[in-house]
């Protein structure tokens, strides 16, 4: 091989799949409304059912453990983040606020802290599902 032949062409990596399977914004919005709905819209029904079961179970267990559905409080800046996390659960959160007799939970309950952790986790999981649905819709994830 001639060492003075100049730089050899570098093989290009295969292009990422860019085929769209649905509107990214619609997928993300549906994913927020109810866990798994975005994946169902993207024609992934099995994954959608599993996600719906996991996030809904987490949320309902949080309510059962008398956790708190956070709202912003004056002088408590961390409650803004907690509110953002809980509102990530979409309709589950809104429905629970309407139906629940005590959306602030029961701080005297021995399971109060666990309930809060479950509720916050359910909301954050659903926010991740929104991002996942968006990535799938734009072809960034197989």
């Amino acid at each position: 091989m001639n060492e003075f032949a100049g730089p050899q062409p570098v093989p290009r990596p295969p292009a990422l799949a860019t085929r769209r399977v649905g509107s990214p914004l619609a997928a993300a919005a549906l994913a927020w409304i109810f866990p798994g709905l975005g994946h169902f819209y993207l024609r992934r029904p099995r994954t959608a059912i599993l996600y719906a079961a996991i996030v809904t179970a987490t949320f309902l267990l949080g309510l059962s453990f008398e956790g708190r559905l956070y709202s912003p409080e004056a002088g408590q800046p961390l409650t803004i983040l907690a509110t953002f996390a809980v509102y990530g659960a979409g309709l589950l959160n809104l429905a629970a606020r309407l139906v629940s007799a005590n959306p602030n939970g029961s701080i005297l309950s021995v399971t109060y802290e666990y309930g809060c952790a479950y509720l916050l986790t359910a909301g954050l999981m659903n926010l991740l599902l929104m991002l996942d649905a968006y990535d799938i819709a734009v072809g960034r994830k197989p």
């Binding site: 599993l50 996991i54 179970a57 987490t58 267990l61 059962s64 453990f65 008398e66 021995v110 666990y114």
Partner: protein, 65 residues
Amino acid sequence: MKPAGSLIPVDHFLIMTIYALLISLFFALLWRNERRERVALFVKLFLALVVGALAVAWLMYPFPS
């Protein structure tokens, strides 16, 4: 132990284990695409959460609040 208003009898370890189970399932589904990889990640995450929590609890045992 059974929290008021709850139908589920629970204890601290059970609540933690259910939490670890749900988290592990969720991230195994989210982060992996192949079935075998998902099972492997699920087992790793679940063991890390449960064993890690027990290890931290054991380390904290000599330091009561």
